[in-house]
Symmetry: C2
């Protein structure tokens, strides 16, 4: 018997604990092509909010009263799937649960032995070597085509994706301005190497961004890595250099309320010839996974890229860990440890 | 003596005739490297509004009490510039005036003899073979990478740029939905070959665009060619197919008032992986002028691309011709004939 979190009703606006229920999932014999897994780490990520809607989105919606899915690290207990054996540590999408039977539809992948033997912790594949680090790497280097010497602005810079962006950019000799909420997070963003950190709770983003650019003696930004939308995105349009590139990764500001975004500086897309592009990690990942593992693995091994983990313990804590993403509870990657 | 329109004060919001004055420019001996030209056709274009501001923009601002500039077709009267002789018909940027001395800074270029001998009217180089047609061709085919089978949405489809977009797209076997203001313009957009025309004055753009897509049995748009911004741009975000491309050419809706644009569907940039890119004709033109002349010349010669001209006569009419662009007075290209 393993327990799994199910979505019991579709949230309107910010989800609440009432939208979720922890249910017992009876064990059943494994079918051919399935693994039985015991999960050790579960990932909670902002993109999951979109899957709680019924609306057409990039990911299939979670079904009511079915276990939710998401990134997880687990150990194989029993295998009827070629290439997997008991004891294997795998990354898969059967998260939000203690474990159970999973098939290829949940994308099991063995963690590289070399990485584990080098001392990399398995949950790194839920952040810097996985979804959030991959999103940072793809968005910064592929979508925004950031290059040494560029000035980078990144929002939610103390989050899992943003903190990876800051560090990858610094390792590539870019100038980095990160935005985060509160003094503690800003301090960490600076510790990660950012040239400036602005606290969006302390005043208008545009004023602070413009002041940081003046201090750094930079005329504007070449790249904006967007995790939040809204005021930050508008400030990026306001301060963009000619031919700036915006990688649009998330808009957590408006995930829950769906309100219109007031874009006063969007018109600068024309005179500054700004290219803005939305992207999703999974579109690109297969193409570049080897390059990403090699590059990011090297950055992690050298200490150039690190991660702070905010850890909640026990399967019962998963919804509150998830909800904490929207109230800014996490520094770095929010994880649930089983 | 030739007369020229000077900007006498910077407009706030919509310009008025009081912002302009027609002044006498005394003749002076030509310097080396100059031409004396008598203008025959002047172009007025929405982008000129931005040059009337003092603000940093992509084009140098017009100077107060100096002749404004813009596209013009003229005849060379006297030449001290190699490669030009009296009688040559040239395209140049010394518009807003009857004529006078111009140098290389105003980019004189002889019209191709072959085109004139084939019966193409000289002012075609102020629209389909020039700024507006080139903007349409570059934006549609290069920036948005539109291809046969794509569904195209274009705003201001009865304007000079938009009407060229409609026709180029139809010549390339795309499905086209054009938006224009009023029944007469919509009728012309349909005559140009658009599969559907929507009248933005008759109701919400999004409702009408969604209805047109249903009628055409298309799930959404692959390309948006934006001339107006605002409600049209938001409707494009709302209806974009995955991997849609938006070529942002103009935002005439907000040129004059600078208000914030309310973007309710901008967030779809992420799930639909939309790429939005602002562009300027002059960045791209040098690279592709030969291909553009060959391709567009062929489309014009075959009758696949035509243009309606809205003509005002006499130098005195130039400001009202320009102001008419913002009240929707023109169908097709607005020109001043001298």
């Amino acid at each position: 018997m393993a327990r799994a979190w199910c979505l019991t009703s579709r949230p309107r606006g910010l989800p609440t604990p009432d939208n979720f229920a922890l249910r017992d999932i009876p064990d059943a014999p494994l079918a051919d092509g399935q693994l039985r897994v015991r999960n050790r780490w579960l990932s909670v990520d902002p993109y999951m909010r979109a899957r709680m809607n019924d609306a057409k989105s990039y990911a299939a919606s979670f079904q009511i009263d079915q276990p939710m899915t998401g990134g997880a690290i687990g150990e194989v207990i029993e295998s009827r799937l070629d290439g997997f054996a008991p004891g294997d540590i795998i990354l898969h999408m059967g998260g939000w649960r203690e474990g159970g039977a999973i098939g290829l539809e949940l994308m099991p992948r063995k963690l590289p032995q070399a990485a584990l033997q080098s001392g990399m912790s398995p949950q790194t594949f839920l952040h810097n070597m996985g979804l959030t680090g991959g999103t940072a790497w793809i968005g910064l280097l592929r979508i925004a085509a950031a290059k040494p010497g560029d000035t980078i602005f990144v929002s939610a810079a103390a989050g899992a994706v943003g903190s990876a962006v800051v560090q990858i950019a610094k390792a590539r000799e870019m100038t980095v301005i990160g935005s985060a909420g509160g003094a503690e997070k800003c301090e960490w963003v600076r510790e990660l190497g950012a040239d400036a950190a602005i606290d969006y709770k302390a005043g208008p983003v545009l004023d602070q961004l413009a002041a940081a650019l003046r201090t750094l003696e930079k005329p504007g930004i070449d790249v904006y890595f967007d995790n939040v939308g809204g005021e930050h995105l508008d400030a990026a349009f306001a301060t963009a250099n000619d031919f700036a590139r915006f990688a649009i990764c998330g808009m957590i500001d408006v995930y829950n309320d769906g309100r219109a975004q007031e874009m006063k500086y969007l018109i600068r897309a024309i005179p500054a010839r700004i290219r803005m592009e939305g992207f999703i990690y999974t579109d690109q990942f297969t193409d570049c996974v080897d390059e990403f593992y090699a590059d990011m693995g090297g950055l992690i091994a050298s200490g150039a890229v690190t991660m702070r983990e905010t850890v909640q313990d026990g399967i019962a804590a998963a919804p509150e860990a998830f909800l904490g993403l929207f109230s800014g509870d996490n520094i770095g990657k929010m994880l649930v440890r089983l």
